[in-house]
């Protein structure tokens, strides 16, 4: 029987929703037990949040000053030390998990499976390749620890009605000092988080400038949505990179996605294909975004968006 360890992602105080989605994926393994490990300087609050996730048997809390920031080089040997008790070690396929999990796998001398989108059995999975243009079925060997990342957009968050036990542990592992955290420069945090928001409004190159992009922010704020952008809009410098939606940016699955002035390059479509409803607003009726949109409107965004904003408020 499988025993699964999930590495929690958090910011020091709040558990990231990607963790709850990874727990949902783990539920499909038919495992004997699912544990979550929280690495932090003081993981009390995060561990409590993780303990509420349905399906989690136990939360391991590893408090250490070196764990104040999620440095892969520091966390990996600790995860590897814990891995001996588990058949599977999972992390979210976010920048946190992508940074950490391959390092864990290499320390264990095993390969790593990226972006699980479907679990067929504890050792058989489906995952996207070629920017989502193909989906492969992959079988992993049963005689080795399976280290993997979970494509979180493929899963809903686990419910929060659980009550797992929390266990504090100390690990006798030498931690490297060759890597030091300096700072994180984030965007404004008073807007909903792009990766987990149920509503997202994204703008594309058609916005034309960062001043004009305010139209998107204003509309998104009026309906309580997170703001995203196409790679073209990011490359043009209208908005910072962390707003980028697509294969090379964030892969998201909101209930409602409104694409404004986005033509719909394949790499963008890959990032939104799990969205509930896609609305496209574009002046070019031939834009590929309309091929995947549930609701399409051909029109000038500079007229449509203010009109839509006032109609909805």
């Amino acid at each position: 029987m499988s025993r699964i360890l999930i590495v929690a992602e958090h910011d020091g105080s709040a558990l990231n929703a990607a963790t709850a989605k990874t727990v949902s994926c783990a539920a499909d393994f038919g495992a004997e037990g699912v544990d979550v490990v929280v690495f932090a300087a003081d993981g009390a609050s995060v561990a409590e949040q993780a303990a509420k996730l349905a399906g989690v048997a136990r939360v391991l809390r590893i408090d250490h000053t070196a764990n104040a920031q999620p440095l892969a080089a520091v966390l990996a040997p600790q995860v590897a030390a814990l891995a001996a008790d588990y058949s599977h070690v999972l992390g979210p396929s976010t920048t946190f998990g992508k940074d950490l999990m391959p390092r864990v796998a290499a320390l264990l001398g095993v390969g790593q499976l990226s972006d699980i989108m479907e679990v067929q059995s504890a050792y058989s999975f489906r995952r996207p390749i070629y920017a989502g243009n193909a989906v492969i079925t992959v079988e992993a060997p049963e005689d080795r620890t399976l280290v993997a990342t979970v494509r979180v957009a493929s899963y809903a968050a686990a419910a929060e009605d659980g009550a797992a036990e929390i266990e504090s542990r100390e690990l006798a592992v030498a931690l490297p000092e060759h890597t030091r955290f300096k700072e994180v420069r984030g965007g404004s945090s008073d807007r909903p988080d792009l990766q987990t928001a149920p509503r997202v409004v994204s703008g594309g190159r058609a916005l034309g400038s960062s001043e004009n992009f305010e139209l998107i922010f204003s509309f998104a704020d009026s309906i309580g949505a997170a703001v995203g952008a196409s790679r073209a809009a990011v490359d043009a410098g209208y908005v910072p990179n962390e707003l980028q939606v697509g294969q090379t940016g964030k892969i998201i699955a909101p209930e409602l996605y409104i694409a404004v002035g986005i033509s719909g390059a394949i790499q963008h479509l890959t990032g939104i294909k799990d969205a509930g409803t896609i609305v496209a607003i574009n002046k070019d009726g031939e834009a590929p975004i309309f091929e995947v949109a549930d609701i399409g409107l051909v029109g000038d965004l500079f007229k449509v968006i203010p009109e839509l904003q006032s109609a909805l408020n």
Binding site: G111, S114, S124, I136, K182, F290
Partner: protein
Amino acid sequence: MEKIMVAVKRVVDYNVRVRVKPDGSGVVTDGVKMSINPFDEIALEEALRIRERGDASEVIVVSIGSTECQQQLRTGLAMGADRAILVETSQAVEPLAAARVLLKLIEREGADLVILGKQAIDDDNSQTGQMLAALWERPQATFASAIEFAEGKATVTREVDAGLEVIEVDLPAVVTTDLRLNEPRYVKLPDIMKAKKKPLENIAIADLDVVIDPQFKVTNFAPPEQRQKGVMVEDVAGLVKALKDKGLV
């Protein structure tokens, strides 16, 4: 610093719309244009800029794969790399095996910095750099959008989900590149001619004494599920009605 090693992968060109073979045995690659993985091209460009501003003296570009990978290495030489190494194999090489091969090359050549793309656009794994750093027991700075050097250290700005993270790593280290690190140069014809004279060494993978054993078995390739085309509305009123009908507003 002395040497920078850059690893490049030969992949289906990013402009090619990849299609799955009808029998599910793979994707169509016959007659398809092949190129350096775009993220690796950014890695090479960064190494060249570091050398050009005097922070390094040599850039070695390496690849692992079939004889055809020489084409991509020649492109790397034409961009400006000093020399190239191809570790030749006809086998599929998983990221862990690639990391083991790269470590052997580091031990042989010496390297103060290894730069790779953050992921290859074929398998989309995003693993090799991190695995190499682990095996080498050195720092990793993934998804880099800026790199600066001072006194045996690198300060790297990383593109993370929360925004930009800055870390400091001791050298030697592994860096993987994100899109906004730089814009790779175009190769000019005289450079292609010059590149023909630059050294390109071939090593058989068997000569490196590395465990390659593939761990994962791909049993099927399928096209992605397509979303159905929806409805077109005429105006904002129609859009609002459609959203209301779906209970979304």
